[in-house]
Symmetry: C2
Subunit: 633 residues, 2 copies
């Protein structure tokens, strides 16, 4: 109805205007006094000066004897100086140097005579081994300036300088109000139509990472008055407020009206994707950020709008985003009118950083969790071609990306288990996998974009797996085929087989759910369909594609489909009935350019491990015969 | 007496042996279960699998109407399809898609008829605008592997996946036992011989930064039984224990004996400086690290020995130290037998990173606070020449170093005040100053090592300040002389002038404390001494040198000297009597290569600010006339 009412403000300009308006209204940090011992990591609000000197008295820096230096002058190996008991004082490290003494001689250099006197075989340099008053810190000296993070050693210096407490910048309290009729508290068994409310937990964790305090308010229904009351309460208790969802201009969206009723809207609608329907509002000096309901949109709006405010509050330099050049593995279309934030998997293959775009759905919170980087497509760009070099913002340390095994190919949950085994063995090594199907994996490896890929391609003429494909796509034989597992493919269907199907030919009896084109399972499905003499258009749901075995199983378990082709372990996971069709060979394709790397060899070791055998056995539907061996082709 | 009993074990080998022995004795992480909402930043102890799909039902992704897609096939602009009320359902974003529906049409694309039916002007693609079950996460999918830090978005994914709590690695509890007869609780008025105990606060802050919990035990006297009892208690309550001080082999050092009485010592004595007398001990799987009493030694031992253990506990990759090439500003002698850790100031002058070594005393905790980097001189190296390129470990971000004004020259507390003004104005800009005296500053600028230096050099022939020195040392005129302040120099002496001196010639009446050679104040002192006809050897304490005005004042206030030459503001700070001698010109030397940088210009602006005038007035003893103007020479 009302989307046209949203503005399409460029992010940078909108942020600048918003911040300026907030400052105009008095936005500024608050301060508090804390005990020095609790100040680590806090930011000073004012310069701190030492109250006493450290040391505050002339102290011995050694265990030894304190003397007047001139008493030792002239001493040498052949003519030692003897000092009577009234001419020296035994001191330990830290003891005050007695009046009249101007040097300390180390105990190792002192020879004691039986009459209590001592012998020195060399002269003492005046002031040697004495810690002068203020050697470390002088009273009145500025120990810390304003806006400096208090480090552990600064805490030592402050205590040494006699400072018991300091003024620091108070943590801003960020209120978070979740709104939405569909939301319920996090739980393990939500009803249909109920969504466990997790945005608040994400946002709270984010603002805490940035040094703020988070205060999550109870879930509010989509009701103007209820939301308004909650917002007023939050504004009383907090310095900034996130009003989550309802920020668009749809039927039930009343965030904008609520914010306007208590304060002012500086901007409604940003030229970003996801995150467009954001509201930048305020009441007095307090920011009110209206954030869209989809988690990915929310994360981006909070990071782009709220984080800079928190940094400003702390007088902290804005965090510099770290970018790297990466090669895009897939073509990408982007809206010309928007700056787009695309989550990507990243990994070094050789010395090229590969960027594989993740699911772009703004409801897919796992895409943010899996993201190693963000491709920020600027406004006015329509996208990029596969293979193009793009600048990607890094979310993970480069070192980690260099130790990440990049897997692209056929999906099997065993890949996650392999990752787990490898990472437990060596915490330095990570694994990142994208599901592209067997053919997708072959193509990625041909382009040099992955370390390995899972593959289970049936040659319908020979009845053999993978071999002919290897010969066709890797005629130079510069890629190894490595044995992984045998796995049972079959038809998954509802518990108790409600439609009483007996084989693949029966899939016309109900709604089928398919795998994507290019996946080994889809090739098998097409083969079986043709063998059964069925036309695709006669099968209900044949056009419906899912990317993984588990998501096919999930649709059947959820009741939106009746059957689909998949592996036994997926059926078992969802407690579905399973009609076995064949045992296929799921192998790994590993190019020579990756073979000799430590990370790939750690995967081969994992393949051969007992731990892998145990996990595979527990999952069910697999056979294991010499995993890790190289298969000639 | 017993230093020879300490071993001189190479750090790397000692750490490796120690860790191996601990692992042999069962050293390993503990785990605990936490609510997902509280898990941000924690490390998973086991893989976490989704319990439910997200979404867990097929949900509308838009506000609109849900239909059977095939009902819309054939619709076009000229021949819209009309659907009666029984053929569609109005849905909001997040609503379940009703049974039999396979597409959602956006509300904007729906035309409502008055009879309640709707008109569609185009066909719907099957499954459009429907979030399939498991689109985000499939039940059974591994959400997080072991040993992974939980991110904010992972918390969202976990809640969406129906996971209420997860197993994470417990924070190890590190017990800290301070020992020493001289120690007192932190306070503002310690007695002579009392040292406020601050090491525990430093160490506690450090281990907390690394993710551990710190438990500080009460101060224990230097008594075998008391220390042993405290250690036994700490071992019961903690996973690792730091026993602070007494780790050497001196008269009162009983840490080694105590550790041996409860457990085992793997190594006593490391080939590092500071930090040599460290003890690497254990009881069973619990580490006991005996740490020297001087704060700098303690920090290094804890960082090099305890931090790797905490990282191992968390299965975290060892933090990679970051190094950069820097030019050393001073020659440096290092012990051949030791690996030495030298704190340095760092700053970019042009594109060269300059490293200025800080006070090497291991009691000087402020040196760690001020350090921007650590120069790790390897064992077997005898030092470096000034101007040599060395590899320095960075403690501050490079960006900060690039925005740091490097000041080397004559000391005046006003430099700290300038830094404060600049940083409050622009939090990006920092200032780092070393006290090298006026001549030291001139030399540093000639070598291109600093952005500016304070200077107050009297030409005794002309009675003018700085001008002739500028002409002599910068004959190319590629350096600007910038007016700063006039300041009163005089003789500082105890409150009430106890020795009743009337002028410089009276300094023979007591103990003098001098400034270092090359400082402007020392040149003035030498001039005054000669004018008074006094020989250096007849003045008690003439050889005693301090680096700053405040430290000279501190010695007089502390009673270890009777007078010294210095500026009024230092005398005022310590409430000393002050006999004015002259008003000198304290100016800034700024080379052309630094002049046009943003950071130096911000300093010029600060010089001209009201804030500077206010602060200078409060400090006392200064005159201000056109600060910031360029003085021709």
């Amino acid at each position: 109805m009302a989307f046209q009412y949203l503005s399409n403000s460029a992010l940078g300009q909108a942020r600048e205007n918003y911040t300026a308006r907030l400052v105009q209204c008095g936005f500024s940090e608050e301060t508090e006094t804390v005990k020095v011992q609790d100040a680590c990591g806090r930011i000073t609000a004012a310069p701190v000066y030492a109250r006493i000197c450290a040391p505050h008295y002339a102290a011995s820096a050694m265990d030894g004897v304190a003397i007047a230096a001139e008493d030792s002058f002239g001493a040498c190996e052949t003519a030692p100086v003897v000092l009577g008991e009234d001419k020296f004082t035994v001191v330990d490290t830290g003891d005050p140097v007695p009046e009249g003494c101007s040097a300390v001689v180390m105990i190792e250099d002192v020879v004691k005579n039986t009459d209590g006197s001592i012998k020195l075989y060399g002269p003492a340099v005046p002031w040697q081994h004495i810690r002068q008053i203020g050697e470390d810190i002088c009273a009145g000296e500025m120990i810390l300036p304003s806006f400096e993070e208090v480090s552990p050693s600064a805490i030592g210096a402050l205590i040494a300088g006699g400072v018991p407490e300091i003024q620091v910048i108070k943590k801003p309290v960020v209120g978070i109000i979740p709104t939405g009729d569909e939301l319920v508290e996090p739980c393990t068994k939500p009803e249909e139509g109920e969504i466990p409310e997790f945005n608040s937990s994400i946002f709270a964790s984010m603002v805490r990472e940035w040094g703020a305090e988070a205060k999550v308010f109870p879930i509010v229904r989509d009701d103007f008055t209820e939301i308004k009351n909650s917002l007023i309460k939050a504004l009383e208790e907090c310095s900034m407020v996130i009003l989550n969802a309802g920020s668009s201009a749809g039927r039930d969206d009343c965030s904008a009206a609520v914010i306007e009723s208590v304060g002012e809207i500086v901007c409604h609608g940003l030229a970003i994707k996801p995150g467009k329907p954001a509201i930048l509002g305020l009441r007095g000096k307090k920011a009110i950020v209206g954030v869209p309901g989809y988690p990915v949109s929310g994360i981006i709006v909070i990071e782009e709008i709220l984080k800079p405010l928190i940094e400003k509050w702390f007088h902290r330099e804005r965090e510099r985003k770290k970018y790297a050049q990466a090669v895009l593995t897939k073509s990408l279309v982007s809206g010309f009118k928007y700056q787009e934030f695309i989550r990507t998997r990243l990994g070094y293959v050789g010395d090229r950083l590969m960027a594989a775009p993740l699911n772009r759905g703004s409801g897919v919170v796992s895409s943010f969790m899996k993201a190693d980087g963000i491709l920020e497509v600027p406004q006015g760009t329509e996208g990029y071609e596969a293979g193009e070099r793009v600048s990607v913002r890094l979310l993970k340390p480069e070192e980690r990306l260099k130790n990440t095994i990049v897997v692209t190919g056929s999906h099997d949950p065993l890949i996650d288990e392999l990752a787990e085994i490898i990472h437990r063995q060596n915490e330095k090594i990570y694994l990142s996998s994208s599901h592209a199907g067997s053919m997708g994996g072959i193509m990625a490896i041909r382009r040099g974009e992955a370390h390995l890929g899972g593959c289970h391609l049936l040659d319908t003429e020979t009845g053999l797996y993978n071999l002919s494909y290897m010969r066709r796509y890797f005629p130079d034989r510069d890629v190894k085929l490595v044995r992984c597992v045998g796995r049972q493919q079959g038809l998954m269907t509802g518990r108790g087989n409600p439609l009483k199907i007996k084989g693949f030919e029966d899939i016309v009896k109900g709604r089928y759910v398919n795998r994507q084109k290019g996946s080994g399972t889809r090739i098998l499905a097409d083969y079986l369909r043709e063998k059964a003499g069925l036309a695709a258009e006669n099968i209900k749901g044949w056009e419906r594609e899912e990317l993984t075995h588990t998501s096919v199983a999930a649709q059947i378990a959820g009741g939106s489909a009746d059957f689909g082709l998949g592996i036994y372990s997926a059926a078992k996971l969802y407690d579905l009935d399973f009609l076995p069709i064949c045992t296929e060979e799921y192998d790994l394709i590993i190019p020579d350019y990756a073979w000799n790397t430590e990370i790939v060899q750690s995967l081969i070791a994992a393949l051969k491990s007992d731990s892998f055998r145990d996990r595979i056995t527990r999952m069910g539907g697999y056979t294991l015969e010499n995993p890790g061996e190289i298969i000639p082709y």
